[in-house]
Amino acid sequence: MKKRLLIVILASILAVATLMFGCSKSTPASSSPATSSSAATTKPSSPAPTASSPTAGQTISASELATWEKNTYEAARKEGQVVWYTQDAKTHTDPMVEAFGKKYPGVKLVVYATQSGGLGPKIAAEQESGQMIGDVVTTGLSDLRTFSTQGRLAYFSPPAAQVAGVKWVADPLHDQALFKEFSPVYSVSPQGAIINTKLVTPDKEPKSWMDLATPWWKGKITTQDPTVPGGANKMFYWIKRVYGEEAWSKIGAQGLILERDRNLQARAVATGEYYIGLALAPRELASIPNTPTKYITFKEGTVVSEIGIGLLKGSPHPNASKLFINYMFEEGQDITGSTGRGSPMRAGARVDMPDLDLTGQKLLLTTPEEDLKGVAEARNDIKKYLAK
């Protein structure tokens, strides 16, 4: 009798848990690229008057930007803060917090460090439950496109990216042609390689991807895992696109050591464990200072990962969020370049690390369609060439 009672209690707890969850669950309609217009069921905790901003594609004058900024700052001060979900290092976020606070007293930029895998579920769960903490998210563009498709982002086109006469390395608003709730790109991260200069003498330094297929490189190469999404996935996609699948076979036969932790990979090169680390960015050098290491690119071009910034739907501080997003296309560009986060999109923005200066480089960009098909297929197709 008591056993039955206990079983009933246990089953009830499970049922109540599931029911509570099921009842509170909403069903945001997913949207497809270019037609995304659905709204996730979210409850902004403190809606504030939103300053109007120019629509994407519209060019504005510097004085219009100043007016928008003044109005938005007034509204943002009432909100007090903006919460920034980011994977960036403190070396990048701390200067950004300080500079933003100086320019906009009374609007605090609060950094929330996230891991890429936990970002999606966290944003989704916050929005579905109406308990939003985050306002703005910066991450890789492919993740942001996924968020947009899922209806997680709100529309905002930063006026600073639309000021007439300002030159950009590439159009930061290019995704507006594909997604209604698009994410502006504020930075790109080049994906080249880091070599150990003690072990790789100048005459051995690879100029082409195919140089790595020569016998000298056998057992000396470590790479980010190309079987999962990321820079290595894109790099190997481009290797096949340029040289065909045979190139995978030749490079794969070198006994590539796969790694998923970029920092450990960079350190393995710095200590001399491996001679070269593929699909690493210049910013990885910041964690291995004063070591015999060097960032290199290949003659075929530079694979880049685009870093975007998105306004979260249901943001508790919408005006402060817009102010911050806009800031990322003003002084934020200089901070991005000077702290080594990535290459800024605005031409002439401050870049302290020469490797981040992409002037004159051939950038290998992929379209969303390629990301969904060719790049995704490459993750599976390459597995047989990596087998030990």
């Binding site: 209690i9 669950k25 403190k90």
Partner: protein, 577 residues
């Protein structure tokens, strides 16, 4: 006191515990179950579907991962438990040389955080540049294949070194509390030391050993960080790596398959716990009776030096060597990279001037104290109910408290996130320290409950019965008889939960907000962005924080501890034995 009243009180206690523990554990785990049969992420639109199970088990690689996970867990558990038992026996029942310093050192081993320890082993045992490999190549007159930390051997070695101190702390109280009269009787009957150990000690300690073995096995199955950092380079994957891939490295994330594998691990855990019950059967394992006891010390003669060397070797390999590398590395510009001007203080300057460090320290102390205190109250009641009552359903309760460790921590974190975000409350709990305390108390239940169970199981009912016969109420009996006798277990459990809460990252990673940031998230923040030396500095600071609280707790434990004779009263250093 009538039997009927006692049964009723036990039933009420059981019902209350079921409600509390059931809610804390089954609600978030219910989310995991739900996620395994929901076609998309809980919270997103979808429908009931077996897709997750079909995808997970339709993939042939899942079976090889299951096998790898199983044999790795078995090997690591067997070796870890064997070493933990040998250490516990030496420290509790022998006159080993240098006992006091060894005791303190063994406890300290537990406090060193995991991530920096793994990094230390990478620095020591990387095949080409590892310090040990370079050293061995220099001194050995013959060529030896390099030791490689990125291998099955490396994973097993590091896991064992990390887990033995935990298992030691878990099993040592049972050795310390064992009544010596049985051993004396065996000796008086002419039994050899070996015969006494195998026929008296081991059977008496069977519950603690089995519980420790089960704990070790379940945690080995759930282990992720060691495998992720050391396994992937060597093409070694386990079940938790697969779960991680489904959630983090698949576009879009495949939650149903990840949850289906997690439910599978839960089922495996159920069988492990069930097997443990069956092995124990209904046997009595009381070793602390009303007749009084004193621990007997086996005189090892010259063997005490061998025992000393054995414990010292373990300490050097598990702690001193990696810790030395860490402290040394914290002053190097880049750990493991040697040059003429390789030393710097900048990591300390940067770590200590980081924004939010002091808030994180304050939050950590508050949160960990609350987790340890609330956890021990709950764990003591659960352990008491399971061991000292005959109320129906106690075994189900015993199983339920295992669950948080049966589910991979990355999945359990999602379970907490989903559970508490959708919980209709009149106040906001998401993003607060309160939620983190609740989540960590839940995930700490297996640890705290096992610690208390292995202590309570050895206390005879006759002590309670004598008190009751003298007219003491249940509450008074519990406070004047049980609590003093359990003080060692309580203090050791408190310290374990405190340290667990300070070091935990996976549980809180999705739950914290900028206001509730803690030290583990700060360590992780430095770590993931490449500043490993700063992460090491903060990791060492974490260890110091735990050590300070350990000293404070043991001093407090001494003041409020049992009114025993001087010989019986545990010394501060022995409190965690």
């Amino acid at each position: 006191m009538s039997i009927k009243n006692r049964v009723n009180r036990s039933s009420i206690l059981m019902a209350c515990l079921f409600l509390v523990v059931g809610f804390m554990i089954l609600y978030p785990v219910g989310m995991v179950f739900f996620g395994s049969v929901w076609s998309s992420m809980p919270g997103a639109s979808g429908h009931l579907s077996p897709r997750g199970y079909i995808e997970a088990f339709g993939n042939p690689s899942t079976y090889s991962l299951l096998w790898t996970t199983f044999w790795l867990a078995t090997v690591r558990t067997v070796i870890s438990v064997a070493i933990a038992i040998s250490l516990a026996w030496i420290m509790a029942r022998t006159n080993v040389r240098g006992k006091r310093i060894l005791e303190i050192s063994l406890l300290f081993t537990f406090f060193v955080p995991l991530l920096p320890r793994i990094l230390a082993w990478i620095v020591l045992l990387s095949p080409r540049t590892g310090l040990l490999n370079v050293f061995l190549a220099d001194i050995l007159p013959f060529h030896l294949p390099p030791l490689n930390v990125f291998s099955y051997g490396g994973i097993i070695l590091v896991s064992i070194l990390v887990w033995v101190p935990v298992l030691y702390i878990f099993i040592a109280p049972a050795f310390k509390s064992m009544d010596a009269s049985l051993e004396e009787a065996a000796k008086a009957s002419g039994a050899s030391m070996w015969s006494t150990v195998t026929r008296i000690n081991l059977p008496l300690l069977a519950p603690a050993i089995l519980a420790t073995t089960a704990l070790g096995f379940v945690r080995s199955m759930d282990s992720f960080v060691v495998e992720a950092m050391l396994g992937i380079r060597a093409d070694i994957y386990v079940l938790t790596t697969k779960v991680y891939n489904y959630i983090n490295l698949t576009e879009p994330p495949n939650y149903p398959a990840a949850m289906a594998l997690s439910v599978t691990m839960l089922v495996i855990t159920f069988f492990i716990v069930f097997f443990q019950w069956k092995l124990l059967g209904g046997k009595e394992y009381t070793t602390v009776t009303g007749k009084g006891y004193r621990p007997q010390v086996t005189k090892l003669g010259w063997g005490r030096w061998i025992a000393f060397a054995y414990v010292l070797t373990f300490l050097v390999v598990s702690t001193f060597l990696p810790l030395g590398v860490l402290i040394w590395g914290s002053f190097m510009k880049v750990v493991g990279v040697f040059s003429d001007s390789m030393y710097t203080f900048s990591h300390y300057q940067r770590a200590f001037s980081a924004s939010g460090l002091w808030l994180a320290m304050k939050n950590t102390v508050l949160m960990s104290t609350a987790v340890a205190t609330a956890g021990m109250v709950l764990c003591s009641l659960v352990a008491y109910t399971v061991v000292k009552t005959r109320v129906s359903g106690r075994r189900v309760l015993d199983f339920v408290v295992w669950i948080p460790w049966a589910v991979p921590s990355i999945v359990m974190a999602l379970g907490f996130l989903w559970a508490y975000l959708f919980l209709p409350l009149p106040f906001r709990i998401y993003g607060t320290l309160l939620l983190m305390i609740l989540a960590l108390t839940t995930t700490g239940l297996p640890l705290g409950t096992r610690t208390m169970t292995s202590t309570i199981v050895q206390i005879s009912n006759e002590l309670e019965e004598s008190a009751k016969a003298s007219g003491a109420t249940w509450l008074r009996t519990f406070t004047i008889i049980m609590v003093p006798l359990l003080s060692r277990g309580l203090v050791s459990g408190w310290i374990l939960l405190f340290a667990f809460a300070v070091k935990d990252l996976s549980t809180v990673i999705l739950l914290y907000s900028p206001e509730s940031t803690v030290m583990s998230t700060q360590v992780w923040d430095w770590w993931r962005t490449g500043f490993l030396e700063e992460a090491i500095v903060l990791g060492l600071l974490e260890a110091v924080l735990i050590a300070i609280c350990f000293v404070a707790a043991t001093m407090l434990g001494e003041r409020v501890g049992p009114q025993m004779s001087k010989e019986q009263r545990p010394t501060p250093k022995a409190l965690l034995q």
